[in-house]
Symmetry: C2
Subunit: 250 residues, 2 copies
Amino acid sequence: MTDNSENKNTVRAVDRALDILLCFTDAKELTLTAISQKVGLNKSTVYRLLASLEGRGFLTRHPETEKYRLGFRVWELSANLTQEDDPATLLLPEMIRLRDLLGETISLYIRNGNERVRIQAAESTQTIRRVAPIGARLPLYVGASSKVLVAYADAQVREKVLDDPEWPPYIDRQTYIDQLEEIRSNGYATSIGEREEGAAAVSVPLFNRRGELVAALSVSGPYNRLTQDKMKEIAPEVMEAAKRMGKMIK
Amino acid sequence: MTDNSENKNTVRAVDRALDILLCFTDAKELTLTAISQKVGLNKSTVYRLLASLEGRGFLTRHPETEKYRLGFRVWELSANLTQEDDPATLLLPEMIRLRDLLGETISLYIRNGNERVRIQAAESTQTIRRVAPIGARLPLYVGASSKVLVAYADAQVREKVLDDPEWPPYIDRQTYIDQLEEIRSNGYATSIGEREEGAAAVSVPLFNRRGELVAALSVSGPYNRLTQDKMKEIAPEVMEAAKRMGKMIK
DNA sequence: AAACTGAGTTTCACTCAATGAAACAATAAC
DNA sequence: GTTATTGTTTCATTGAGTGAAACTCAGTTT
């Protein structure tokens, strides 16, 4: 939020208003004061910025809670943005089916540089806290989905990832590389408590019709529900779903 | 674009920036000067507003065309906005299937007050001009989808629509009411050149699991391809699709 | 009932940030 | 070559945007 970057020639009031909008990437509902704290601006300033955002329909106030939420204008814009060949849109119904079958959170990750991005999700109804908001960027060296994305990437990409100067010293490269090999032979990856304490995940690769890797599809939940055995048990199911989903993508 | 409404206490620069964003509801790509004409502002003003919008990722410049487009931030926001029980998202894959089967543009309309809103679409690849952008609001007195939405609405709603003081005098109410009756007995509506010259459409109701009307699903195209006979022929197909889609919605 | 919190809203004086005109650069069109 | 037509920068002017503080209105606490 405190990112001025190097761009000059920018309009301060607009920057601030957009920062306010961006607050809603990890919060669904916010009060005026919460926002003013988050962006570090005076209440009255935020008040007027919110008035503009609300006036144009980018935010609305929920009638009951009185809190601010994203408005229909965001949806209207995104609808025109969304390509119908956008995986995130096409695959959601199938992901929901899988979620309802397994009862755990289903996520879809793509690789972007040396990170992975969560582009779609069907949250478990039991989950209290979300794994990560959609659009969240995570490092590629921990988590089942990370390894899937690296394991099935082309050799050049894999090398580039492993050569990342920011690779953390506490993760042994050779162990990691060995894991990739294992994942390729199994067809899926699992992780327990790697990225977050108490959380486990199974992840499988998602290939498009041409057989290219496009994403990693993961099932994640608390490790007391998602034990190693349980994950092994559901893996074929998940791989099957990924296969079906892959057929939908060019 | 020239809508100040009654809201005071609003920040001018922000209002203007948001107006610029809204230009992209009916245009995919715009140049700076095009925008400045559209919103009626000085080029340099627009230049700086664009710098802010671009800096925060709400707009990007297409590397080739150099023109402005909606940026990833819009998608990121909308991803968090989109409920997974949002019909527009859930139904798209099925709509695409139907589009690929019939080769014509598939649209989904919901009623909102005395208008209908196009909430989702799978455009025919042959179509040059779009029927309407997503989010577009159209009157309820012309077009196949309008009549479907009215025909299957509850009596109170139907009455409210027919009592609209702005009902155009050149459309006879009794004829319209008779058509509704016919639509209910057929299970679908057709229209030729009603809303737009040379365009035809078949539309069917979409009911949720509880049997409530939620939307109208339409197939539209040029009337030389979509003749009355052709429409009669494909109607069962469309109704079947609507039935399947309805099962996905609470 | 009074005092107190913690929401949102309004007022107001100050001043700096946003503005438009015009000049400028960089291509594309003729 | 000239002529349009992009996008970009400069600069003086001023009024739009700002923060502090006052205020309202519910809901809690004392």
